[in-house]
């Protein structure tokens, strides 16, 4: 029995040691070194192909030689899962990106993020910084945007010209877009593009069309409509997509999902003349044309088509900001330095460092946009620039407790509708029923 007791004692001691070590991981609040330097850690993903994290770390170190920003790599696909595991084990980096708004509430609500309202206050009233308001929960801010992508319409100028179709001029409604596609369908084979579709809808993502429909609906502010429990505002866009895939104007959803089609392969190799997509494709498309991974053709971007002609004067688009948050477990000097890094990354200085890597920053000043468009291979026309600066940007995932549940249910509806396995009305009705039944919508908690 004594042996048994000593064995159990040893196991218990080992378990305690492990848990203490785990708790200790995040508390390493060493402050500054004796020589006055300090290093903070920053999470990133696919560091080998995404220069933005290293660029920010280097630029900040250059401006603040006493601070070193060390990168910690995460998987791009499982970023949130890995970060949640690290946060709950107390081993998260000091600063980490909120990849989109979908998980933001999950992090902020249980106190895993430091309150950055004081840092955010410095930017109130600065219209150049986009997406800041999307991070507000009950009047507090827990992350600051540093990147802001926006959905636009990519078009292949070469294909349109050969087909004798006018390029988008920023006044298109979705009906115009559909009509142009119908004309392209007839003209493209004669222009030498026998296998090409007029447009490509990347329906593997529910953003196409749900993000567009939310941004362009006329019922009210995006967050309120999204959290209202009524999703009938999605109907017109789905009707359009269904009609277009039935008419053969775009690759149908079933093919897109079963063959795991990429938008790069469709637009980049001229299998589609038009492509609604976010600005994160600008840099890679220019790079791929240079490296030969994409065909060489003349292209540009325009604002997304709109619901009505009147809306085209002030086009509405969408995109979640990407922001930096700080671990709620750090304090003292380390917290102060981390806050300064986050403030800097959102500023014009941080934006300039980011823009040079081909990433669209959240700070849309003229200087920043000049730097962004100065990369070789990007379109230089006024319309392309207007597509970015002139679009009002709604969040794709307005922040709330129910955000992930709503998106998950709407994704189920999305696959049912576009695979034409369930009628539009029925699919949206059952999503709404599940969302309302979850008890997570504001004012409906049990």
């Amino acid at each position: 029995m004594k042996a048994l007791r000593s064995c159990l004692a040893a196991v218990a001691a080992a378990a305690m040691a492990c848990s203490l070590a785990a708790c200790g991981g995040g508390q390493a609040d060493a402050g500054r070194n004796p020589d006055g330097t300090i290093s903070i850690s920053l999470a990133g993903w696919t560091l080998a192909t995404r220069p933005e994290f290293q660029a920010l770390a280097d630029a900040y170190h250059q401006a603040h030689p006493d601070v070193t920003v060390e990168l910690k790599e995460y998987s791009a696909d499982d970023y949130d899962k890995q970060l949640i595991a690290d946060l709950s084990a107390g081993k998260a980096p000091d600063v980490f990106p909120m990849k989109n708004l979908r998980m933001y509430y999950t992090y902020a609500e249980p106190g895993a993020l430091a309150d950055l309202s004081d840092v955010a206050a410095a930017y109130r009233g600065d219209d150049a910084l986009r997406g800041l308001d999307d991070y507000t929960i009950d009047g507090k801010t827990y992350a600051l945007p540093y990147r802001q992508d926006v959905w636009v319409l990519f078009y292949n100028r070469t294909m349109l010209a050969k087909a004798g179709v006018d390029a988008p001029d920023g006044t298109w409604t979705w009906q115009d877009y559909r009509n142009v596609c119908a004309r392209l369908k007839r003209a493209l084979p004669e222009a030498g593009y026998a296998d090409a579709y007029p447009t490509y809808h990347h329906t593997s993502w529910q953003s196409m069309p749900q993000g567009i429909a939310l941004a362009q609906q006329d019922r009210g502010e995006a967050r309120e409509v999204f959290l209202s429990g009524d999703y009938t505002y999605l109907k017109p866009m789905y009707r359009l997509l269904l009609d277009m895939q039935d008419q053969g104007l775009t690759l149908p959803y079933n093919t897109v999902s079963s063959s795991k089609t990429t938008y790069q392969s469709q637009f980049g190799t001229q299998k589609a003349a038009l492509l609604p997509m976010a600005t994160w494709y600008l840099g890679p498309l220019a790079d791929q044309q240079r490296s030969g991974d994409a065909d060489r053709f003349d292209w540009a971007i325009a604002p997304l088509p709109q619901r009505t002609r009147a809306d085209t004067a002030h086009p509405k688009s969408f995109g979640d900001p990407t922001g930096f948050a700080i671990s709620g477990t750090i304090g003292g000097e380390r917290l102060a330095v981390a806050k300064d890094f986050v403030r800097w990354a959102a500023s014009e200085d941080g934006a300039l460092a980011l823009a040079r890597t081909g990433t669209l920053p959240a700070y849309f000043s003229d200087t920043v946009l000049d730097a962004f468009f100065s990369r070789s291979g990007l379109p230089q026309d006024a319309m392309s620039r207007r597509a970015i600066t002139g679009s009002a940007i709604s969040p794709e995932n307005p922040v709330g407790e129910a955000t992930q549940t709503i998106q998950d249910e709407l994704n189920i509806a999305h696959t049912s509708i576009l695979s034409e396995t369930k009628p539009l009305d029925a699919a949206l009705a059952s999503a709404a029923k599940a969302i309302n039944g979850s008890g997570l919508l504001p004012g409906r908690q049990e």
Partner: protein, 310 residues
């Protein structure tokens, strides 16, 4: 027993009991050390999490911070949850077709490959291959074969029928497609188990039956099946549990779609936990899966016990 033998040989009767005690303690210590690697793993990775699950199913928890107790809210939500109902029905549908189909095919193959035929070892290996092939590769290749237009399967079926199934892009055909792949993958594994059972049946029983004038069919039903009962029972229980827990195949082949026509319980747990970070409610759903597995297995044991007593 070993301790006493050794102690007996060890020496005088006076310190005999002390010896016995020391040796018994040493045996216990060694025994514990031997099971420790497995037991500690089981304790830390399975037992403690499972026990914790009972508590988290009554809480709201995002994996960050502490779980907050919310009484029966998760359970009330569960019984009103359409996705949960569909996922349960889909899981039962998969199990109800997959279990008998796999069992019948595996048993048939085992009997066939137990006979003295040429190339027996080769065919046994071939039947086992799908089980050791990577699931992602399997799912990818089958998805291509199930393609409604250009897939091999529909091109072949097109020779005979006009109205071809949509397979993975149809809500009514996606589950049969998943079942076909599931059966194809697992039949070889269960065949090996049944084959091992078949080889324990004494040849004399068949000879005696033959002398008594039993034909092949009668020998199968009155010799093979009764002798195989313990193996068949084991295989059925294992097959039932793996069928109810099915996740990898639907995750890679259909991701639960189209819509939620192939969403199974295990995948619903995964979605709620890791995609919605709603670990409290995910615990509730996984407890229900646990209870379903438990109930079905207990029913099987009850039937087996009754049969053995009869």
């Amino acid at each position: 027993m070993g301790a006493q033998d050794l102690a007996g040989r060890g020496g005088g009767a006076r310190d005999n009991s002390a010896h016995v005690r020391t040796l018994r303690n040493r045996n216990i210590r060694n025994g514990l050390l031997f099971i420790a690697p497995n037991f500690i793993g089981f304790l830390v990775l399975i037992l403690i999490p499972v026990v914790t699950l009972f508590y988290t199913s009554f809480t709201k928890w995002s994996a960050l911070g502490e779980p907050s107790f919310n009484g029966l809210a998760n359970w009330r939500r569960l019984f009103a949850d359409e996705n949960f109902k569909t996922a349960t029905l889909n899981t039962l549908y998969y199990a109800a077709v997959h279990i008998p189909l796999t069992l019948a095919l595996a048993f048939g193959l085992a009997v066939l490959l137990n006979a003295k035929i040429r190339g027996r070892a080769f065919f046994r290996t071939v039947a086992f291959f799908p089980y050791i092939t990577a699931i992602v590769a399997v799912a990818q290749v089958w998805s291509m074969m199930f393609d409604p237009k250009s897939g091999l399967i529909n091109q072949f079926l097109g020779l005979f029928v006009d109205d071809l199934p949509g397979w993975l892009s149809s809500t009514s055909w996606a589950m049969p497609a998943v079942i076909i792949v599931g059966t194809w993958r697992e039949v070889g594994y269960f065949m090996i188990l049944l084959l091992a059972g078949l080889q324990t049946i004494p040849a004399e029983l068949y000879e005696a039956a033959q002398v008594d004038g039993a034909n092949g069919w009668q020998r199968f039903w009155h010799v093979t099946v009764p002798c195989m009962w313990p193996t068949l029972f084991f295989v059925t229980v294992t097959l039932t549990i793996t069928s109810l827990k099915i996740l990898d195949l639907t995750l890679v082949m259909t991701n639960g779609g189209p819509g939620i026509s192939t969403l199974v319980l295990a995948q619903y747990v995964y979605r709620v936990a890791f995609e919605r970070a709603d670990f409290g409610y995910a615990s509730t759903v996984s407890l229900m899966l646990f209870f379903i597995c438990l109930a079905v297995t207990m029913l099987q044991f009850w039937i087996n016990n009754r049969r053995e007593r009869a």
